[in-house]
């Protein structure tokens, strides 16, 4: 309860400040290519090496999307948001590497594929978030 009270006080303090600069939000962009829900990295076939290479190529595409979306987001950000976005993106890179390394350290050769899939999914999901094609409203 104590926290709720604190929250309420913070809200009360913040409302007048934010109301002044309140404006209509841009409507979220619809998904340009209402993507098929199935996971394309599951279509990669062959030996471990081929699968790893195949997923790696898919990740490259997503990485390009991500870079573009990140640059756009930086352009659209308010001045006070810019450094926060840069910091968040730096931390995202570190987190992605650490998280996929965790999968890589798993048992068996499947762990190499899991690490590759980790990279693909994370990159796609971050690109979706930054270009607004994820389902923000749930």
């Amino acid at each position: 309860m104590r926290f709720s009270l604190v929250t309420m006080m913070l809200v009360a303090l913040a409302l007048p400040a934010t109301a002044a600069i309140c404006h209509a939000e841009d409507a979220p962009k619809p998904a340009a290519d209402a993507a098929p829900s199935k996971d394309p990295s599951n279509d990669c076939d062959g030996g471990t090496l081929q699968i790893v290479e195949c997923i790696g190529k898919l990740t490259e595409e997503q990485d390009k999307r991500l870079n573009k979306a990140y640059r756009e987001a930086l352009k659209d950000a308010r001045p006070e948001q810019r450094d926060l976005l840069k910091a968040a993106q730096r931390l995202w890179v570190q987190y992605r590497d650490a998280n996929c390394e965790y999968y890589h350290q798993g048992e068996g050769s499947i762990s190499r594929i899991e690490a590759e899939q980790c990279s693909f999914h994370m990159t796609k999901s971050r690109a979706d978030e930054l270009d607004g094609t994820d389902d923000q409203a749930k």
Binding site: T18, E80, Q81, Y95, Y102
Partner: protein, 126 residues
């Protein structure tokens, strides 16, 4: 500057509420968070609290169940996840208008839910 401080404070409150999970409100995952800004923020925080509990349980289980080689990478990843979550949601919190406060809360809810699902899924595979 004061706005940054405010958003930081608000995020800390969200995180703190998350830890002390409101007993009366299980944070029904299917409930839609409608109402005033305050009600929405509280409702989203309750959901976040529920996902945070699930995430913590899955993380602790994985630490115990995982091979020794994976233990340290998992700790490192989870530490970085927390830093990334805080930085990312602060970015949303500094957006324009009161909607930014809701977006920051939604960011916390969504990220925690996704991380919980990831850790729980990994658990199943072991």
């Amino acid at each position: 500057m004061s706005r940054i401080l405010y958003v930081v404070a608000a995020l800390i409150v969200i995180t703190a509420t998350t830890g002390s999970a409101l007993a009366g409100d299980p944070g029904d995952p299917d409930a839609t968070c409608d109402g005033s800004t305050y009600e929405m923020v509280e409702c989203i925080a309750a959901k976040t609290a529920m996902w945070d509990k699930r995430m913590t349980i899955a993380y602790q289980r994985l630490l115990k169940a995982g091979g020794t080689k994976q233990r340290e990478p998992l700790r490192v990843a989870q530490r970085l996840w927390i830093q990334y979550r805080d930085a990312n949601c602060l970015y949303y919190g500094m957006g324009e208008g009161t909607i930014a406060r809701i977006e920051a809360g939604e960011c916390m809810r969504k990220m925690t839910e996704q991380r919980a699902a990831e850790l729980e899924g990994k658990e199943d595979r072991n």
